[in-house]
C-alpha cells in the first residue's frame, strides 16, 4: 500500500514486524493449553472405540472395567441419554440428508473408532486399563469404505434411504455442450485428492467442571471460546445452566476445533452425570483415527478454448466421501462456486455430490473448497502444454484485470480490488522464467529433471454473509491506570491476534504497544464472535478493534479539550501523551485523562459518561477477496521418484499488512500443509475399513527438510473493509498444491506424465513415468 497507515494517521506499529506478545510465555513453557489445566477432584476419561467399521452392538459388558480400583464410572450411550444433546454442524447445509448424531454409538457402529463407551478414572493410565476390560459383542457387517463403494452401496446410516448426503448442480445449459463441440481445443483432467488429517500438534481436549451457581465451566482446545459456549448451550439446552468456556493457548486447529463434536459433548454429559470434573485429552492414535478428517475427493474437469486460447466453457463433475459423522457433510458448494477462479469463463456447468461411507467423518480443513484451485490450475498448465502456449501467457489471456473489476462470478460473488495478474507477473519476474528455462534445458542435457509450476487464485475471505460469521466485536477500555485492555472476539491458535490486534489499538489510540493487552480467551467477557475460521480475523475482528478504539480516542480528546479549554480538533495523542497543538504547557498523559474519566467526573464535559470504555460490533463486507500467485521449482529424481523443492515464491495481496511476519507465517504454514498434501500425507483404509495410517510414522507431515525457505512478495491493495484488510489464513494451503503439482508435471513432461492421484509419492511417480514411457 502507498500513502501511510491503513488507520489514516502515522503508523508506529501497524505494518511493522513487531515481535509477538505471546512468544515469551510460549518459549519458556509457560503457556496454558487445555492439558495443562488441573482442577481439584479432576478425573480422567478414556473412550472405548469400535474396532470394526460396521456392525450391530449385541451387548456391552462393563462389569470388569467398573470393578477396577480407581475407576469412578463407565458410561454407555444409554447412560448419557439422561442429558440428551443435539450434536449438529455449526455450518448448516440446507437440503443435506443428515443422520442423528449421538455422542456414543448405541445400537450399531459405523466406522473404526466410533466411540461406544467411556471410562472415568483417577488417572488416564487407569482409565485406559479399564477401557481395555470393556467387552463389546458385535455382529459384524460389510462396510462401504471408498467413494465407489458408497455410491449405491449399503446405507451407512440405516435411518436414511441411501448414502447420498447432498448434491448441487448448475442449471443444465445446452450452450455448454455447443461450446465444447465448436471449441478449437478441449482439455480434460481428473484429480483424485486423498483424504487428509488436520493433525494440529495439540490434539483435541476438554476439561469439564460440574456446574456451580448456574454456570458450567469448560476449558477447551477450540478456535473460539464463544463458539463452544454457544454450541454447548444450544446442544444441551439446560434450563438452569449456562456454559462458560476458557480457551487460553491452543496448539493449532486448522478447522478441526471450530466446534465441539461427539467426544467433547460426551465428556460434558459424563461430567453432569458424575458430578466431578473430567479431563479428556485425545491421544495421537485417536486423533488420526477418530478426529474428523478432510478432502477425499474425485474431480473431473474439462475446459473448452478458442483458437486464441481463450476460455469458452468450463464443465466440472465432483464427488466427495464425507465419512460417517462429520460437521462438514456436504457437496462442497463453495468449491463449485469458486471453480472459475479469477478467470473470464463465459459458460460454466457443474455437478457435485457427497456420499457417506463407513469411515470417520469430515470437518472443514484449511481451505475446504481448495479443490477448485487444484483442479483449475493443473488443468490450465495441461492446456498450455496441449495447445502449445506458455502457461503464463495462457493465464494472461484469460485472467480478469483491474479494468474488469468489480467482476461478477457465475456464483454471484463479486471479485473486486484484486491483483491476480499483477502477482503473477511479479512472481514470474522475480523468478526470471527465461533464466530458469535455460537452466532447465542444461539440466536435462545432464539427465536431471527440473520443473517450474505456477498457480494463481482468488480467495474468498471473511465470509460475513450471515450466521455465526456475520460480525465480530471489540470492547476496548483504558483502565484507571492508563493501561489498555481490549477484549476481542478473535481467537488465536497460533494466529498471533494477541499481537496484531494490539498493533491496531496502539496506533489507533496513540499509545505504546506494551501498554495494550488483548483478551480473547474467555466466553464470559466481551461478546459473541466465531473466533478463527473463514480467514477473517484481521478483517472482522480488526475492523471492530479499530472502530472501538477510535471511539475511545475521541473520548480521550474530548476530555482533554474540556480540561484544557481547547478545541477537540487541536488535541492529539501520541506515545501515550495527550497534547494541545501549539501549547506546550497543555500536555497530559493518557493515564491522567483516565484518572479524570474515572475519579473526577465533575471535570468531564457536561452529560459525558464517566469511565473510558467503548465497544464496536463490526459487520465487514460479506466477502473480501484476497489473491496470490505462487511459483515453485522442483527437481525430480527419476531413479527414485523423490521430489526436491528448490525454490518457492509467494506473491500475495491481502491488503495492508498489519504485521508482515504474521502474514508470512500464515502463508508459509499453509504452503507446508499443501506440500504435505501433494507429497506425503495420506489417510487410507484397508478393504475392511481399518485405518492404516495411525501414527506419525505412517501419516507423514512435512519436516524442516521438506519445506524450502519461501521468497515472499507483497502487493497491498486495500479492500472495502475497515482498515482495508483482507484475509490470508487459508490461501497458502489452497494454492500450494497446484503450484507443486504443476512443477512436478513440468519436470516430468518428457515422460508424458499426467499423474493426478495425490499424493505424488515416489512409487506413484515412478509408476507414472513407466506408464508414460521413455523421455521424448
Amino acid at each position: 500500500m502507498t500513502g501511510g497507515s491503513p488507520l489514516g494517521g502515522a503508523a508506529r506499529f501497524v505494518g511493522e514486524r513487531v515481535p509477538r506478545k505471546e512468544d515469551r510465555r510460549l518459549l519458556t513453557g509457560a503457556g496454558s493449553y487445555v492439558d495443562d489445566i488441573s482442577v481439584p477432584g479432576m478425573t480422567h476419561c478414556a473412550f472405548v472405540r469400535s474396532p470394526i467399521a460396521k456392525g450391530q452392538i449385541r451387548s456391552i459388558d462393563v462389569a470388569a472395567a467398573r470393578a477396577l480400583p480407581g475407576v469412578h464410572a463407565v458410561y454407555i450411550g444409554a447412560d448419557l441419554a439422561r442429558y440428551p444433546a443435539n450434536v449438529t454442524p455449526v455450518y448448516v447445509t440446507p437440503g443435506a440428508n443428515e443422520p442423528t448424531v449421538l455422542p456414543l454409538a448405541s445400537t450399531d457402529v459405523r466406522y473404526v473408532g466410533d466411540p461406544v463407551a467411556m471410562v472415568i478414572a483417577d488417572t488416564r493410565y487407569i482409565a485406559e486399563d479399564a477401557a481395555a476390560l470393556v467387552i463389546v459383542d458385535y455382529a459384524v457387517e460389510t462396510p462401504v469404505i471408498t467413494l465407489d463403494a458408497a455410491i449405491g452401496g449399503a446405507a451407512v446410516h440405516p435411518e436414511l434411504s441411501d448414502n447420498l448426503v447432498h448434491h448441487v448442480a448448475s442449471p443444465d445449459d445446452p450452450a455448454v455442450d455447443v461450446a465444447f463441440e465448436r471449441a478449437a481445443h478441449v482439455v480434460t483432467g481428473r484429480i483424485t485428492h486423498q483424504r487428509q488429517a488436520h493433525v494440529p500438534m495439540e490434539t483435541r481436549g476438554i476439561v469439564a467442571v460440574p456446574p456451580t451457581g448456574g454456570e458450567m465451566l469448560l476449558y477447551a482446545a477450540s478456535q473460539g471460546p464463544h463458539m463452544v459456549a454457544r454450541y454447548m448451550d444450544l446442544a444441551f439446552a439446560l434450563p438452569d445452566i449456562r456454559f462458560r468456556v476458557i480457551s487460553r493457548d491452543v496448539g493449532g486447529a486448522f478447522g478441526l476445533k471450530v466446534q465441539p463434536w461427539r467426544e467433547e459433548v460426551a465428556v460434558v454429559a459424563a461430567t453432569l452425570l458424575l458430578g466431578r470434573p473430567i479431563k479428556w485429552i485425545e491421544d495421537r492414535l485417536e486423533n488420526l483415527t477418530s478426529s474428523c478428517q478432510a478432502r477425499d475427493q474425485d474431480c473431473s474437469i474439462r475446459m473448452a478454448f478458442d483458437a486464441d486460447a481463450k476460455i469458452l466453457a468450463l464443465d466440472v463433475d465432483y464427488r466427495n466421501n464425507v465419512g460417517a459423522y462429520g460437521p462438514n457433510s456436504n457437496a462442497n458448494s463453495l468449491a463449485m462456486m469458486m471453480m472459475p477462479g479469477p478467470y473470464k469463463v463465459p459458460l460454466y456447468r457443474f455437478k457435485a455430490e457427497a456420499y457417506y461411507s463407513n469411515t470417520v467423518g469430515q470437518a472443514a480443513y484449511r481451505g475446504p473448497w481448495a479443490i477448485e484451485s487444484l483442479a483449475r490450475e493443473t488443468l490450465l498448465e495441461k492446456a498450455a502444454r496441449q495447445i502449445g502456449i506458455d502457461p503464463i501467457e495462457l493465464r494472461r489471456r484469460n485472467l480478469i484485470t483491474a479494468e474488469d473489476q468489480p467482476f461478477s462470478m457465475h456464483s454471484g460473488f463479486v471479485i473486486d480490488r484484486t491483483t491476480t495478474r499483477e502477482t503473477m507477473e511479479q512472481s514470474a519476474r522475480h523468478l526470471d522464467v527465461a533464466a530458469f528455462r535455460r537452466d532447465q534445458a542444461a539440466a536435462r542435457a545432464e539427465g536431471r529433471h527440473l520443473g517450474l509450476g505456477f498457480a494463481v487464485y482468488v480467495e474468498p475471505t471473511t465470509m460475513a454473509f450471515g450466521g455465526v460469521l456475520a460480525s465480530d466485536v471489540a470492547n476496548v477500555r483504558i483502565e484507571p491506570t492508563g493501561k489498555i485492555t481490549a477484549t476481542v472476539s478473535t481467537h488465536s491458535q497460533g494466529h498471533g491476534t494477541e499481537t496484531t490486534m494490539a498493533q491496531l489499538v496502539a496506533d489507533t489510540l496513540g499509545v505504546a504497544i506494551d501498554d495494550v493487552t488483548i483478551k480473547e480467551d474467555d466466553s464470559s467477557s466481551g461478546g459473541f464472535g466465531p473466533g478463527a475460521g473463514g480467514s477473517r480475523q484481521a478483517v472482522s475482528g480488526g475492523g471492530a478493534t479499530i472502530r472501538a478504539t477510535r471511539k475511545l480516542a475521541e473520548k480521550v480528546r474530548a476530555i482533554a479539550a474540556h480540561a484544557f479549554n481547547a478545541s477537540v480538533d487541536s488535541v492529539t495523542i501520541e506515545s501515550g501523551v495527550v497534547r494541545v497543538a501549539g501549547v506546550q504547557e497543555m500536555t497530559s498523559s493518557v493515564r491522567e485523562i483516565a484518572e479524570i474519566a474515572y475519579y473526577a467526573p465533575d471535570r468531564l464535559p457536561p452529560d459525558m459518561e464517566p469511565g473510558l470504555e467503548e465497544r464496536s460490533r463490526y459487520r465487514p463486507p460479506p466477502i473480501v477477496f484476497s489473491n496470490a500467485a505462487h511459483a515453485c521449482v522442483v527437481e525430480v529424481d527419476i531413479e527414485t521418484g523423490k521430489v526436491a523443492i528448490l525454490r518457492w515464491i509467494a506473491s500475495e495481496d491481502c491488503g495492508p499488512l498489519i504485521n508482515p511476519a504474521v502474514v508470512e507465517g500464515q502463508i508459509a504454514g499453509g504452503v507446508a500443509q499443501g506440500i504435505g498434501g501433494v507429497l506425503f500425507e495420506q489417510i487410507s483404509y484397508d478393504p475392511d475399513g481399518n485405518p492404516v495410517a495411525v501414527t506419525f510414522k505412517d501419516y507423514l507431515i512435512p519436516t524442516a527438510h521438506d519445506v524450502p525457505e519461501i521468497e515472499f512478495l507483497h502487493i497491498e491493495t486495500a479492500s472495502h473493509s475497515e482498515g482495508g484488510f483482507k484475509g490470508v489464513g487459508e490461501g497458502g494451503a489452497i494454492i500450494a498444491p497446484p503450484t507443486l503439482v504443476n512443477a512436478i508435471a513440468d519436470a516430468l513432461a518428457p515422460f508424458g506424465v499426467d499423474a493426478m492421484a495425490l499424493p505424488l509419492s515416489p512409487p506413484r511417480l515412478l509408476r507414472a513415468m513407466m506408464e508414460g514411457g521413455q523421455p521424448r
Binding site: R24, T28, G251, G252, R284, V671, T703, A704, G732
Partner: protein, 157 residues
C-alpha cells in the same frame, strides 16, 4: 503395579517421588513436577514436542520412563531462561518468528539448546538436521531454519 522411589534434579531443583514403573518421564514431569511446558504430541517418539535434556542430552521424554531418570539431571524449557533474559535459542526463536501456536516450541528449543550448550560448535547443517526430528504444523519451519542459520554461524542473541 510396582512402585519405585526416585530422585531427580529438575531445572537444578532436586525432587524425590514414588512412581509407578510404567509412568513415562513426560507424564512425571507434567503431573508431578509441574513442568507443563513439556508437551505430549504423539507419545511415540516422532513429533519431538516432549523433548527435554537428561544429563545434558536431548531425549524424548515420552519414550523414557520416570524410573530411568533416577539420579539424573533433567532440563526443561521452564529452566532455560536466566530470569528475564531468554536463552539465546529462545531469543533467536522470538526474533525470527520461529513459532505460532507454540505447542512444538519447547521441544524444539530444548533440542537446539542441548546442541548449542553442548560440546563442540554445531554448524547450520547440524542444527537443521536436528530440526528434522521435530514436527511443526504451523510455521512451515521458516523461522526455525533462520534460527539454525544464525546459531550455526555462531550468533548467540
Amino acid at each position: 503395579m510396582s512402585e519405585h522411589a526416585i530422585s531427580v534434579t529438575i531445572n537444578d531443583r532436586p525432587i524425590r517421588a514414588t512412581v509407578e514403573a510404567r509412568l513415562t518421564l513426560s507424564d512425571f514431569l507434567r503431573t508431578r513436577a509441574n513442568c507443563t511446558g513439556v508437551h505430549v504430541g504423539c507419545e511415540h517418539g516422532v513429533c519431538g514436542a516432549c523433548t527435554v535434556t537428561v544429563d545434558g542430552r536431548a531425549v524424548r521424554s515420552c519414550l523414557m520412563l520416570a524410573v530411568q531418570a533416577d539420579g539424573c539431571e533433567v532440563g526443561t524449557a521452564e529452566g532455560l531462561a536466566k530470569g528475564e533474559r531468554l536463552h539465546p535459542v529462545q531469543q533467536a526463536m522470538r526474533e525470527e518468528y520461529g513459532l505460532q501456536c507454540g505447542f512444538c516450541t519447547p521441544g524444539v528449543v530444548m533440542t537446539l539448546a542441548s546442541l548449542v550448550d553442548g560440546e563442540g560448535t554445531p554448524d547450520e547443517a547440524a542444527l537443521k538436521d536436528a530440526l528434522g526430528g521435530h514436527l511443526c504444523r504451523c510455521t512451515g519451519y521458516q523461522g526455525m531454519l533462520k534460527v539454525a542459520r544464525r546459531l550455526g554461524a555462531g550468533e548467540r542473541p
